[in-house]
Symmetry: C2
Amino acid sequence: MKTLTQKVHNFSAGPGILPQEVLQEAAEACINFDNLNLSLLEISHRSKNYVKVMDEARQIVKELFEVGDEYEVLYLGGGASLQFAMVPYNLLTENGYAAYLNTGVWASKAIKEASILGNVKVIASSEDKKFTYIPKNYTIPSDADYFHCTSNNTIYGTEMFEFPDSPVPMVCDMSSDIFSRKVDAKKFALIYAGAQKNMGPAGCTMVMVRKDILGKTGRKMLSMLDYRVHIKGESMYNTPPVFPVYVTLLTLRWLKRNGGISWIEERNKKKAEMLYQEIDRNTCFKGTVEKEDRSRMNVCFVTTKPEYEPLFDEWVKQYNISGIKGHRDVGGYRASLYNALPLESVEVLVEAMQEFEKKYAS
Amino acid sequence: MKTLTQKVHNFSAGPGILPQEVLQEAAEACINFDNLNLSLLEISHRSKNYVKVMDEARQIVKELFEVGDEYEVLYLGGGASLQFAMVPYNLLTENGYAAYLNTGVWASKAIKEASILGNVKVIASSEDKKFTYIPKNYTIPSDADYFHCTSNNTIYGTEMFEFPDSPVPMVCDMSSDIFSRKVDAKKFALIYAGAQKNMGPAGCTMVMVRKDILGKTGRKMLSMLDYRVHIKGESMYNTPPVFPVYVTLLTLRWLKRNGGISWIEERNKKKAEMLYQEIDRNTCFKGTVEKEDRSRMNVCFVTTKPEYEPLFDEWVKQYNISGIKGHRDVGGYRASLYNALPLESVEVLVEAMQEFEKKYAS
């Protein structure tokens, strides 16, 4: 196993940075898992060693969210995109409708899938201003089957810092800011998140669901799309994504061991404040979204003059800064400050921006 | 990274054994992938380094199957169990029906899911004799939308050594014997396989589909269940199971490098013959399925006297033999001889059986 010769500052929007110690443990498990002299990649998911992993990976989510046994936790394949379909498949009734908040590309995709299965009302949207803010002052209708929102919009860099009191089950796609800050999880009937941003590697999606909302649609359901089937199978109705779930557990253990949500929230606030402060100060850059809705996970910004962009692309290379190009749909820059990103990486980016300004704008 | 101190003979039915060198490469990639100084677990699936992985992983399947560009290869999450639903969702018309061959638990599950979506005819079944043989001499109706079969039955240990000439698109679940022997892939319109037996680790499922059979149902389709959406996205419509696909590629590269299908088929025949020969010779054991349908992948057997079973369970421990207990539904023993299992492991099992007979039955 080689030792790293260079430190890369990994601002990738996802799959995103994971703690170095988690990567080491993951590599170990590829060779010898749990001292079985077998790789985690070649043992039965029904072995007691792996059943323990799955149990703990399910339990730790409830601990971090501080919820009780009215909730069940699942790890499923297919990504959050499959949840865009599974949520309405499990919750949307034939004559009812679902209420959606449209805050960006991922919310739009969720709306599209729900519309294939039934009726959907978009009760508020920020599409009018290219999703650069979070809609407020909307009313969730009390006759909807459920209300769906996206807590953080990876592509545009907005984040919901307040969640409504919903009269109907509230469902949230937390893929890109799960466990980055304290939320009152009990407000939600269902939370889902692709692991590959703040929880672990690509290949599994966490679903936490309050059991009482299930089984009400009357729909005859395909087994793999039925949350109740997976709950009954304790998240092993079929072979789960063994390794991705394990690395997710390692990442959540890392979070818990270091101080949990309050620790990480403090750290994430500090990282985001530092970077936004520089964006606002620096004459070469400007932010792209409403200040009050600025995401702490995905910091989006552009150059104040177009000619700066190719220069800055080149400039950051000397700092070993990786993954800050904006999403192909919006351009500019996006620095993702997920849980595992150290403060030091933000300091380096800020320094790069300051030196860039000195060289090109003074 | 620890070095193994003990050799474990891994007969696990799945997730199953992988080549040692693949495990080493997988561990390396967890730390430093492609000399990027980043882990494969924390880089974008849209990075050029990973796009190359996905492209090669798709291409190598077509090479090994010797098919052309009329086929597309996908790697999807959710396991083969999700394919039980996706196959009829993509191929079964509202007024049509699908023809299924029922050869065991997995075939039955595939039938169940298809029945939720439309009409199904089971045209032959071996359920009458507890799935201990492969039905023959059935006729595939020429007005069916497609014909579905399971090439190898992991739980019962039977394998189809001949495939019919189907008048309708033939679909095959090859999860447990894919790339273990030469098959005429062009006979099939769709082949799918959970990776975790002969192809790689748990967490991704390979689907190879002939494009001309798609888009004929008129069904309004959920994106994630629509093969055409995944084909258009080059198997990256959404974030794929990054690491499982990579380890699958490593495993298929290993297969190709060592001589491909003809090499592995020879080796697999030798392993299976050696073990079946011992089962037939040894007075303490007997096989459980029709000789002509005996699987080369999953060798099922029982003890000739019930009192031998707990003794043999204990006995094999001294040989570092792991994973030979039969499936919980059928009991007895099942030694899985997947591609990566070395001949030496079979020799050790045979020796254990011989020594057991000497001690307890002579």
